[in-house]
């Protein structure tokens, strides 16, 4: 049975020692949707991502993929294999490898190393890499060392590496941090291209224009709780949100 819910969080609470990072959070993200999660620093955004990817365990509450796969008991590698891909803030591509080899690593998805010794990429894998290169706009740079790319290009490459694994859920942690306006716009275009009915995109960001540009729905977190949820306009005009966060 295929539900339309990608990520289902119910009554989630996470505390570290005495500090409550998230308190009684409930949200639901559907396939085909681009959700932005915003909030001041310390609101619990990164913790939420950590719980979804299995890096942190919930103290209370549930978190599910597809409403049937319990993410709170799986380890990180398994969650990755389930199709949840996360891109971290700091671009971490393999500088010493070529762009195309970075993607190759991603596309092989941890294929058994003995097979890797002699194996060539299958036609399908090769097509996928070309596809991704087109999507992220680095087709001309496939033969460059990843370390020589600009900051923005590295971010796109990393998104590309995630894409190569064809994830169901894409978590992007501040994807445009440190980018120029031009790069930000191109990233927005890239994310538009990533939207698909069988994919959910979750973006954590501070750049409000960017959020307005790409997000279908916005969830606002504050001190570990959900402050408001809705379209960008609705949230922008919500008095509570204005009081706490948006003052622009």
């Amino acid at each position: 049975m295929k539900t339309n819910t990608a990520i289902y969080v119910n009554g989630l609470s996470v505390s570290f020692g005495g500090f409550a990072a998230i308190t009684n959070l409930t949200l639901e993200i559907r396939y085909g949707e681009t959700r932005a999660i915003i909030g001041p620093n310390g609101a619990g955004k990164t913790t939420l991502m950590d719980v979804i990817t299995g890096k942190t365990r919930p103290t209370q509450g549930e978190v599910f993929l597809d409403k049937s796969i319990d993410l709170s008991v799986l380890d990180e590698a398994t969650i990755v294999r389930q199709g949840i891909g996360r891109k971290f803030q700091k671009p971490s591509v393999f500088d010493a490898l070529l762009v195309q080899h970075n993607l190759e690593l991603a596309v092989r998805k941890g294929q058994a190393y003995a097979a890797m010794l002699g194996s060539r990429l299958s036609g399908e894998q090769r097509a996928r890499i070309d596809d991704v290169l087109e999507t992220i706009g680095l087709a001309d740079n496939r033969g460059r060392l990843a370390g020589t790319l600009s900051h923005g290009q590295k971010q796109w490459l990393e998104i590309g590496m995630l894409l190569a694994t064809n994830p169901r859920v894409l978590l992007l942690d501040e994807p445009v941090a440190g980018m120029t306006d031009q790069e930000t716009e191109r990233t927005a275009e890239l994310i538009d291209r990533l939207v698909a009915p069988e994919r959910a995109i979750v973006v954590v960001e501070h750049d409000m224009n960017f959020v307005g540009r790409i997000a279908d729905l916005v969830s606002v977190l504050h001190e570990g709780q959900l402050l408001g949820e809705g379209s960008m306009d609705k949230v922008r005009n919500d008095p509570r949100v204005i009081q706490v966060y948006l003052g622009r």
């Binding site: 971490s92 393999f94 490898l97 190759e104 690593l105 092989r108 890797m116 370390g147």
Partner: protein
């Protein structure tokens, strides 16, 4: 190490191996065919020296594979070299015994009257070769499994490998275990029926060493250039990231670790018949660090650099030890300091950068 430096030169990548094949061909020529008066002649001593240095070069190659390519600094590669060497030693003891029927001193000391059955498994050369490699791989496997799974990396890992060599050295020094004790294994007479004292045997051993080095280089190069090679670089530069991509990095590391151990063991097995003796100092912690020094001086991560570094340092050592033995440690210390301070990528990387700079500027 600069993360931008690609590992290996792109053009004609495998020609380096030809060098050693050529050397392998040259050795018998130099000794047998070229007369003693010519400058190109190599005496038995010369051939033997080259053979030993080539074995060290192979050992350095093995270390560079795990260190330069995968980022695992092992300060205990002497263990695998020693395991191979000792197994070969046991085979040679067998051979000597069947020829002379005289038990080695350490066995008499243990009170044995006959060659122990346990050591008889090394009686035939192919079995000994196989067992030597198997033993090294097994040791590497056990150690690698425990440490890589435990996510022990970096400096802690290196220190633990030092402790391991120290423990093995103590084990081999023990006179009560029948492993030769502090005198090691000596009294070798022949290998596969050929007398070790014969010039021709030594020449063929040296030649075999060169071929083995070339072969090892080709093998490791091939792996480095394959897709597996990409994962190795990825493990070195950002293991967590690679794990995040779904790769079992501890298995990758285990594979390269065991392969490196096998190469080191083969180097040890070729070394012992050429030097005629093996004793516990071969697994001393100091020697294991020295291997890393050869690789560092030559240029780690390039495979070629490791070979060159080993050849350079060991040639210097042989030359200077004869002339001024008390000066050698200072020279080695000086070179190491210079390299680490000013040319941390090693001589080979420095040379290639220079060449490339010259090419782009011209």
């Amino acid at each position: 190490m600069s993360k931008l430096a690609p590992m290996l030169p792109r053009q004609r990548p495998y020609s380096f191996a030809l060098l050693f094949v050529a050397l392998a061909a040259y050795l018998p020529l130099a000794n047998f065919l070229i007369s003693a008066e010519s400058a190109f002649h190599l005496s038995l001593f010369g051939v033997n020296l080259i053979g030993q240095i080539v074995c060290f070069a192979m050992l350095a190659l093995a270390l560079d594979f795990v260190w330069g390519l995968v980022g695992i600094l092992s300060l205990g590669h002497g263990v695998f070299f020693g395991i191979g060497g000792y197994v070969m030693g046991f085979y040679l003891l067998n051979a000597a015994y069947s020829e002379t029927k005289v038990l080695p001193d350490f066995m008499l000391f243990m009170g044995w009257h006959d060659f122990p059955a346990a050591l008889r498994i090394f009686e035939h050369l192919p079995a000994a070769l196989g067992l030597g490699i198997a033993a090294a791989v097994a040791a590497a496997g056990v150690f690698g499994l425990t440490t890589f799974r435990a996510r022990i990396n970096g400096v802690y890992f290196s220190i633990i490998t030092q402790a391991l060599t120290y423990a093995l050295m103590l084990l081999l020094f023990n006179n009560d275990l029948g492993l030769g004790g502090n005198n090691g294994l000596t009294g070798f007479t022949s290998i596969a029926g050929y007398r070790l004292a014969e010039v021709s045997t030594q020449v063929w051993l040296a030649t075999a060493s060169c071929i083995a080095l070339a072969g090892a280089y080709l093998l490791l190069r091939a792996i480095a250039d394959s897709s597996l090679g990409h994962t190795l670089v990825a493990v070195r530069d950002d293991e967590a990231r690679l794990r995040f991509l779904g790769y079992r990095t501890d298995r990758i590391k285990l594979f390269t670790w065991c392969l490196s151990a096998a190469v080191a063991a083969v180097a040890g097995m070729l070394y012992v018949p050429q030097v005629g003796i093996i004793n516990p100092t071969i697994v001393s912690p100091v020697l294991s660090v020295e291997i890393a020094v050869w690789v560092a001086i030559g240029g780690r991560g390039t495979l070629i650099g490791a070979v060159l570094g080993a050849i350079l340092v060991n040639s210097l050592k042989f030359w200077l030890s004869a002339k001024a033995p008390s000066v050698w440690p200072f020279i080695l210390a000086g070179i190491t300091l210079l390299i680490t301070l000013f040319l941390s990528n090693g001589l080979w990387s420095g040379a290639t950068l220079l060449l490339r700079a010259r090419k782009t500027s011209s």
